[in-house]
Symmetry: C2
Subunit: 578 residues, 2 copies
Amino acid sequence: MDKILRIDMGAKGGPKARVDTLGDYAGLGGRAMTSAIIAKEVPPTCHPLGPDNKIVFAPGLLGGTSASMSGRISVGYKSPLTGGIKEANAGGQAAQVIARLGYAAIVFEGQPGDGKLFQIFIDKDGFNIQPADELRMLGNYDLIEKLKGQYNKKATFISIGPAGEMKMHVSSVACTDREQRPTRHAARGGSGAVMGSKGVKVIILDDTGTKRIAPKDVEAFKAANRIFSDGMKKHPVTGEGLRAYGTNVLTNVLNEAGGYPTRNFQRGRFEGKDKISGETIAALEVERGGSDEHSCHTGCIIKCSGIYNDKDGNYLTKQPEYETVWAHGGHCEIDDPDAIAMMDRLDDDYGLDTIEMGAAIGVAMEAGIIEFGDAEGAINLLHEVGKGTPLGRILGGGAASVGKAYGVVRIPVVKGQSMPAYDPRAVQGNGVTYATSTMGADHTAGYAVTANILAVGGKVDPLGPAGQVELSRNLQIATAAIDSTGMCLFIAFPLLDQPETFQALIDIINSLHGLSLTADDVTALGKSVLTTERNFNIAAGFTSAHDRLPDYFKTEPLPPHNVVFGVTDKELDTVFNW
Amino acid sequence: MDKILRIDMGAKGGPKARVDTLGDYAGLGGRAMTSAIIAKEVPPTCHPLGPDNKIVFAPGLLGGTSASMSGRISVGYKSPLTGGIKEANAGGQAAQVIARLGYAAIVFEGQPGDGKLFQIFIDKDGFNIQPADELRMLGNYDLIEKLKGQYNKKATFISIGPAGEMKMHVSSVACTDREQRPTRHAARGGSGAVMGSKGVKVIILDDTGTKRIAPKDVEAFKAANRIFSDGMKKHPVTGEGLRAYGTNVLTNVLNEAGGYPTRNFQRGRFEGKDKISGETIAALEVERGGSDEHSCHTGCIIKCSGIYNDKDGNYLTKQPEYETVWAHGGHCEIDDPDAIAMMDRLDDDYGLDTIEMGAAIGVAMEAGIIEFGDAEGAINLLHEVGKGTPLGRILGGGAASVGKAYGVVRIPVVKGQSMPAYDPRAVQGNGVTYATSTMGADHTAGYAVTANILAVGGKVDPLGPAGQVELSRNLQIATAAIDSTGMCLFIAFPLLDQPETFQALIDIINSLHGLSLTADDVTALGKSVLTTERNFNIAAGFTSAHDRLPDYFKTEPLPPHNVVFGVTDKELDTVFNW
C-alpha cells in the first residue's frame, strides 16, 4: 500500500498507466484517500462526465490485513447526481485484493475521445489494458460469467452494467463477492456513469502470489483484533440481529417506530410490511435452500447478507438489503418479496443504485406513470432503464429527474440524491444527516437511527429536534473516520456502546502501522475528511441553501405520529461548527 | 396603475381574487415590479412548481400610455429551469391592456390541490374566474380560436399550451398580438409551467371603456415622445435593419463575425445561412403574400416582425425571430426556412421557448437521437414534446435535461438555461452576460452584441476579454432599467448612440408621472433591480460557481477564429462590483 496506480484513459495513442508514489496522500485510506484526491485534483465546477473528473478506488487503512470487517472499498468522484464530491462504499473482495497488490489507490483520469471501452487486468506483476468493445451493454452477471473462465478462480471484478455505459445518474459500480457474484455495489451518486465516462467496463484483479499485509506489531494486532471481534459478537445488533435477519431486520423496527416511508413518503407505516420483513425473507431463503447468512468479503464476521433463491430453488440474488426492500417495497407499496428480489437482481445486473432506482419508481408512481403497488409495472420500468428507452433515461436520472420531467412537487431528495428508508420527520436525527451531509441524502453518512430508534450510543427522541444536531454531527465525524479505515460501518454499533471495542479498533490501527493514535486523532481525522469534502462542495457552488430538506417535510405531518421535521435552518447551519 | 390584483388559486372553496394597494411596490413597473414581488414574497428555496411560488404579470412604468414602444410585459417567478428568480418579457397587447385596466401587477398565488384548470376574465368592472377543464391540452392557437368568438373582438389573451399544463421547463406564456394571434411569448425559464402549476389556462383581458393613461404634463410628454420616436427612426438598426429584415438580419451579421453557433456550438459559421437569413425570409414572406413588417403591439414603430405564410399562401406563423431561426436552424444544421417556420408555429402552439427548445433538439442531435440537419426529425421531436411522450418530457426539460439523460458533456447552458444565438467565444461580451446574469444564459440581459459586433455604443473587440466586463455590467444595468419601463429593449440601440434620445426617454417618464429623474436615477434603478435579483439567487443557493460558462468554452477553440472564452473567473466576479 505504498503506491498509487494512475491510468490515463485519455492518453494519446490509448490508455496509459503509471505507478506513482503516495506523495501528499501518504497515511490516508478509504474515504480520506478518495476525498483528498478528488478535492486536490478535480476542478470543483467541471462536468462530472467530462475528462477533468477522476474516479478513485481505495481500500481503507486496514485493507488487506486480517483485521475483521476490513474489506470495504471507497470509490470517490465528483457525482453527476449531486454535483458535489462523493464517496460510495462497497463490500466484496476488491478492497482486500487492491491492498494486497500494494495499491493505496487506483485512479482513472481523462477519457477516450472515441467512446471506446476497455478492460483492465491488474496482478502482482503489473497491469494490462485491452479494448473491450465486445463486452458493450453486457449486464454485470453476464459480464462476469463471460470473463471469469479466462481468469484465476479467485479473481475479483469491478464492473459497470449498461446503466453505467449509458452514463445514467443512478448507475453503480459493482464489485464481486467471494463467489464472484457482482452483488456488492458502490452505488450512490452515479459512480457507474463516471467509470463509464472513462471507458472502463471492467477491472479484473488477481492477487495470486501476494500476502496479507503484516502488522508492525503482530502480537498486539492479534490481541486487539480478538477484543474487537469479541465486541462485535457480543453486541446484540452485530452479533444477533444482523446475522439472523440481515439489515432487513429494520423493516419491522422502522415500521413500529412510524418512520418507514410509505407511498413516496406519505405515511410512516406500511400495511404490507409482514410480507417483506427480514424475518419473513430469512425464513423464505432457508425454505428455498438459499441461506439467511452470508459474508460479502473475506474477514466479515457479521454475515448480514444471505442467498435468495427463486421459487424453483435457483439462485436469484443476494439477500436484499433493508434499504432495497424499502425502496422497491414500501416506498412503492409493493409487498411481494419475489418481485423485490427480482428488482434487486436487475439492479445488480444493469448496475443501478437500488435506493435511487426505487425512489425514482416511487416518484413515477406519484406522477401516475404506473400505479402504486404495481410490482409487474415496476419490474417493467427497470427493464426500460436497462434498455435505455426514453422513459428509462428519465428514471435513470433518479428521483429528481422523474420529478422534473413530470412536474412532481413531492420529490424526497437533498442535493439531488434520494432519501433512503427512514423518514426524516420520524427519525429527525437522520433528517439532519440527510440535509447536511456532503453526500446528499445518505443514511450511512450519519446514521442517527442508532440513538433515535435502536437505543445504541444513548437515546435521543426521534420525533423532535432536541439533540439531533449534536447526534448527527458526532455520527458524521465518526463515520468519515470509519469510512477511512476500510471497516464495515456496522462496527459502529459496538463502538458506540463498548469503550473497549473502540479502543481495540485504535489498537488495531496502531499495531498495524506502528502508530500511537488516540481517540482524539480519530475524531480529528473524521473532521478533516468532512472539511475537505465541504470545501470541495462550496467551491462547486453549494451553500447552506443546499443543506435543507424539501419544504414539504416541514409542513406536511407524517402519520401515524403526525410530526413535521422540526430542526430549524439555523440549527442545521451549526452542524459543522466544531 | 394604482392597484395590484391578487388571485389566490389555492383558496378554500376555489380561487379567490382581491384588489390590493401598491404598498411597498408603489413607483415600480415591469421587471422592477416583478422582481420586487418575487424577492419579497416567495421563499427562495421553495419548489418552483409548489404553492409557495408566485407568478406576476406587470406592465412597465410607461405601460398603457401613448409612448412609443411601451408595450412590453414582464412576467416574474422563481424559475423551474434555473432555480433562480426570473423575469421573462414579451410584446403583444397584454401590457397595455393591464395598465389601462388600472393594474400595476396581477399576481397568482397558491395552487388548486386537485389539478383543476381555470380561465380568468378581467375587464374594467372586475374579474370572473371559471373552471376551464374543457380547455385542457388545447394548443394556444386552438385555444384562442375557440375562445375569441365569446369575447370582444379586441380582447387580449394570456395563455399556456400543453407544455405549460405538463409543467415542462421549456414551457412559455403566450400573449396575443393585435390580431389575436398567440405569437408573443414570455418564454424563458418555464413561465408556462409556473402558470400551469397555478391551474391558470388562460387570462382574458378586455379594456373596453378604459382610456390611455394620461400624462401629468401632456405637452412635455408629447414633445419628448416626438424626439424619442425620431431617434428611433433615424438610427440605422431600429429605423432600417430591424424593419426590413426583422431580428433575423443578424444571421448574416453573426455568421460574418464567426460567432454564429453552429452544430451545437462546434463552429462559428453555418454553410446554410443564405437559405435562412433575414434577407431570404423577408423576400419569401413578401413573395407568398405575407409581410416583412409587422408591429407586435400598439405603439410599436419599429415593426421588426412580419407574417410568414406557407407555400399555399396561408398564414403559418409570425416572422421567426433571429434566435428562433438560429435555434431551430444553424444550431441543428437545418437550412429549410419552411421547417423552421413550422417549428416556430409549433413552439407557439404547444407553448414553448423557441431558444430552449431548439437548443434541446441540438443536444439531442449531439446525443445521436436524430442526425444534425434532419428537419423532419426535429419537427417530430417537437410533436413528442407536445404529446408529452417520455422522449418529449426529456426534451421538454430543456438542453440540460437532454444532456443529463443521455450523458452529453457539451451542454451550452448557464444556470441550467441554454445560451442563445451568439457564441460566447466570438462575442465575449455576451459570454460575460451569459455567465453572470441573474437569469441564466440570456442574450437580452446585457446585449453586448452592440459594441462587440454592431459598433453601437462604442466598439469592443469581440474576440478578446478586454473591456467585456465593463461592457456587460453597463448593459445589464441599463437593461434592468429599460425592462422596468415596459419599453421594447430595441430602444437601447438609439439610446446608446444618441444622448438626446436617452434624455427624451427620461423626459417621457418624468412628464408622465410628474417626476424629475435624472440619468443617475435610471442607473440606480437598474442596479437596484439587479441587486434584488442577485440577493434572491444567493438565498436560493447560487454562488460565484454558478456565474461560469461550461468549461469547454474555455478549452475548445471556436472556428473560424479559433478563440476560447478569455474572461477569467476573477474578472467575472467583478461584474456586480459598482
